[in-house]
């Protein structure tokens, strides 16, 4: 990904994130969150993680934002009224975040990891095709110089990560049952 695109999407993402905190109206915050996530998905796609980028947009801009908006409208919230803001939490918040960020810059300022992404050109991909003799579709795509992102993710997910995938299914079932139990009106 060229540098200017990186900084463009980064700016979109960070401005969206700041807007989530800055807006008083929760609906505006939810929309700002989606802006932020669209920028993030663009960064993912720039890192050649196409599938994750698309999933990010589908799950967050599609499902999660609708859920947030639905709950905001269900609760019929007023705009947050200007309350006499307590100085202590504000100071604590800024100090905490500032300390974290300074620490981060300290860690990143050594040039050890200042590397450029390894090339993913046709030669490198064709060289990787040898490892996928058992799955001809992946090998074929790699030989022709394309990155079969979804095939590779599916391959990894259903071979190496099969057990965690099933656990995840159980987790989603538990979440579904939990939501139904929580939102049922309690009868005395």
């Amino acid at each position: 990904m060229p540098s200017y695109l990186f900084w463009l999407f980064t700016t979109i993402m960070l401005i969206g994130a700041c807007a989530v905190i800055a807006f008083r109206n929760p609906v505006s915050s939810a929309l700002a969150m989606v802006t932020s996530f669209v920028g993030l998905a663009a960064l993912f796609i720039g890192l050649s993680a196409f599938f994750v980028g698309v999933i990010q947009i589908l799950v967050y801009s599609g499902a999660v934002m609708v859920l947030f908006l639905f709950i905001i409208m269900l609760l019929d919230l007023k705009d947050e009224k200007k309350r006499s803001s307590n100085a202590a939490p504000l100071f604590a918040g800024i100090a905490l975040v500032g300390a974290f960020f300074i620490q981060l810059i300290g860690v990143l300022s050594n040039n050890l990891s200042n590397q450029i992404a390894p090339k993913l050109d046709a030669e490198a991909l064709a060289a990787a095709a040898g490892n996928y003799e058992k799955s001809p579709k992946i090998a074929e795509a790699l030989m022709s110089g394309k990155l079969p992102d979804i095939h590779l993710i599916g391959h990894t997910l259903f071979t190496e990560y099969n057990f965690p995938l099933q656990i995840l299914g159980v987790l989603l079932l538990v979440a579904t049952v939990g939501v139904v139990v929580l939102s049922k009106k309690q009868t005395a």
Partner: protein, 105 residues
């Protein structure tokens, strides 16, 4: 070409903004959105590392698997969390963290 450091710095910034939101805001729904931002910042780190550390010439798909799982868990967490918020609103008629002091010692 942005380097690995750039991605990590941006991800740290996003995480910091999310953390600031969790500490500063009083509306529990917005605290929740900021939690999502923090999870996404972690995802950005994972994807960046997966791209910059190639295995046999391809991106390291283990990192992307972890992102996949994080997104799923985050979606489940949002569903359950919002159900809890609805139940809370039903019981207390407020979702401001200042006014929820029943567990305060």
């Amino acid at each position: 070409m942005p380097s690995l450091n750039d991605y990590l710095l941006v991800s740290g910034l996003l995480f910091s903004i999310g953390l600031a939101g969790v500490v500063l805001r009083r509306n529990i729904i917005i605290v929740f959105m900021c939690l999502e931002l923090m999870l996404s910042a972690a995802n950005l780190t994972l994807i960046a590392f997966s791209r910059f550390k190639t295995v046999d010439g391809l991106p390291d798909y283990d990192g992307q698997m972890l992102v996949f799982f994080v997104i799923t868990v985050a979606a489940a967490e949002v569903a359950v969390g919002l159900a809890i918020i609805v139940a809370l609103y039903r019981a207390r008629q407020t979702i401001h963290t200042d006014e929820l002091v029943a567990l305060k010692g």
